[in-house]
Symmetry: C2
Subunit: 319 residues, 2 copies
């Protein structure tokens, strides 16, 4: 969660004068989003989210993120829509930060999704992948092999303080992935962070996808690996193959998986687990005193990574 930048109503009024979205009825900082400051804004014309992009977010990436949301919605994927200001811009500067107003999407994220929700999430992901094929912009994945190498270096000295053997786990895993990371698989726009937090449901119906701020171009099957990693493990560490099969079936309903993609899944699952292990470990070791969220426990992902190291072929994941 977070409100890193304080925005008074008087500040807001000035900013809203550039928009044509009605008079404000309520305005509250919300406890969501690790990276940015987020506020809910209700006006007499509807509900919106105001986001001030902080820290790691680069303004030059905003046309990709905001353009992608417009593109996806135009292709039938429900997601927040940037509201253009009176000049037609998707974002502008506000309190020294890039800022945008997005439409508010109704729906609630689930903490314990069931198999039916996993099927819906898998279907939404392949829908996103298909719709993304016609998106004109591209953005490299900063959190793939090169990024992992940097994070591994930055955390190596203190990894074992978090968990015995963690440094070796990371080093060995990174060495294996450097040697064997797949190439030649189908690529396109991926969400790259489609955790249950970022999928909204109303009742059992998926109502939309949110938080596109890690979206980039990479292997599509890697995005499915991120999804399986974040939805299909139980809190006791067990991989729930019933949920996974539903998720894979949901995905395949929208996009066929090639043999090479399936064969690569054990590696892609390890890569996806290593990616979240490394970013969580880095944030755990380098807590931001100004952060208003508790860092997430990296050990959830070291356990998943160890699980994946035992997996010999994709069938064990439910393919």
């Amino acid at each position: 969660m977070a409100v890193y930048t304080d925005v008074s109503f008087e500040d807001l009024e000035g900013f809203l004068s550039g928009y044509d979205i009605g008079a404000p009825l309520s305005f509250k900082g919300i406890a969501e989003g690790v990276e940015n400051s987020n506020f809910t804004l209700q006006t007499d014309r509807g509900a919106f989210i105001l986001t001030l992009y902080e820290k790691r977010m680069k303004a030059e990436d905003l046309p990709f993120f905001l353009g992608l949301m417009e593109h996806l919605q135009a292709h039938g994927i429900a997601c927040p829509q940037p509201v253009r200001d009176k000049s037609g811009a998707q974002w502008s500067m506000f309190k020294g930060r890039a800022a945008a107003i997005l439409t508010f999407l109704n729906g609630i994220s689930l903490r314990r999704p069931g198999a039916a929700h996993c099927l819906a999430a898998g279907a939404a992901l392949s829908g996103l992948h298909e719709a993304g094929q016609s998106f004109a912009l591209a953005r490299p994945n900063a959190l793939s092999l090169d990024g992992w190498r940097e994070l591994a270096k930055a955390t190596a000295a203190r990894a074992d303080k978090v968990q015995d053997g963690l440094g070796a786990l990371i080093g060995d895993s990174l060495a294996e992935l450097e040697a064997k990371w797949p190439s030649g698989l189908p690529t396109g726009v991926i969400h790259a962070d489609l955790f249950p937090d970022n999928v909204l449901f109303m009742g059992d119906r998926l109502s939309g996808l949110i938080d596109f701020y890690f979206a980039c171009n990479d292997m599509l099957a890697y995005d499915l690996a991120v999804l399986l990693n974040s939805w299909c493990f139980e809190s006791d560490g067990a991989y729930n193959i019933t949920k996974a099969k539903a998720m894979i079936a949901g995905y395949r309903g929208g996009r066929a998986l090639g043999d090479a993609e399936i064969a690569a899944m054990p590696l892609l699952m390890r890569g996806a687990a290593l990616r979240f292990l490394l970013t969580r470990l880095y944030d755990w070791l380098n807590p931001d005193p100004g952060a208003l969220v508790r860092a997430k426990d990296p050990r959830e992902y070291s356990r998943k990574l160890r699980f994946h190291q035992q997996v010999k072929h994709a069938g064990e994941y439910g393919f």
Copy 2:
């Protein structure tokens, strides 16, 4: 802000089954309230706030706070209303904490209120004082002389580390107030924390009062002193007598001030400033590592207290 207790949608669903308020459409932790965990909840029947009472809040005080909000609304003071559950209860236990659902009040708090807003806030305060006269429950003010003495003791050793001379300022001020604190002035239910944060406006119209969790019984004129302290100083430390006169006129429109109350204002203003100086100083010196809000700067109130020490009579405040 704060979300100290994590509430999943699945937790929420269980809790909502005890209420008759419709199906949830959205649910978000909000960045408000230093003491409690707050969530906005939108259902197909309306907007609500779910509050989990944490830490310092005692469950035995809830009938006073929640009953007061019902009583005030019934007497024409707009404020959040506790939604009774199917058994008729105003609150119940949820995740090990006392929890209540309140109606959501539209409106926005101002950071830089003008004289017209001050007049409206003054009028709302005397309306509250009048309406409170018929409220059956009572609660002592834990943050009056006895509480100040404890806080002064707990902060004395380190006060000067925050600001040179702060320990002496507090000690001298407390000694004066212990000797001269008024008695015999009209008492009743006071809000005790009616900062601009806790008054909502829609445009220039006051739409309601919120956050009654410091409400208690004490001298009514002390509540006006809290209001003047928190609304009528500019950020450069100047006391804005135009705003103060508007606020006092607004108050007097709803309730007459007696001569003894006016004569006591210099002391009441010092007491109100000392109260917020001490709680802020305590929180500044004892940061809660789990707190998700930044502590407020106590020096804002040491400056106000020093200002009040130069004031000889109530006329200087605009009376």
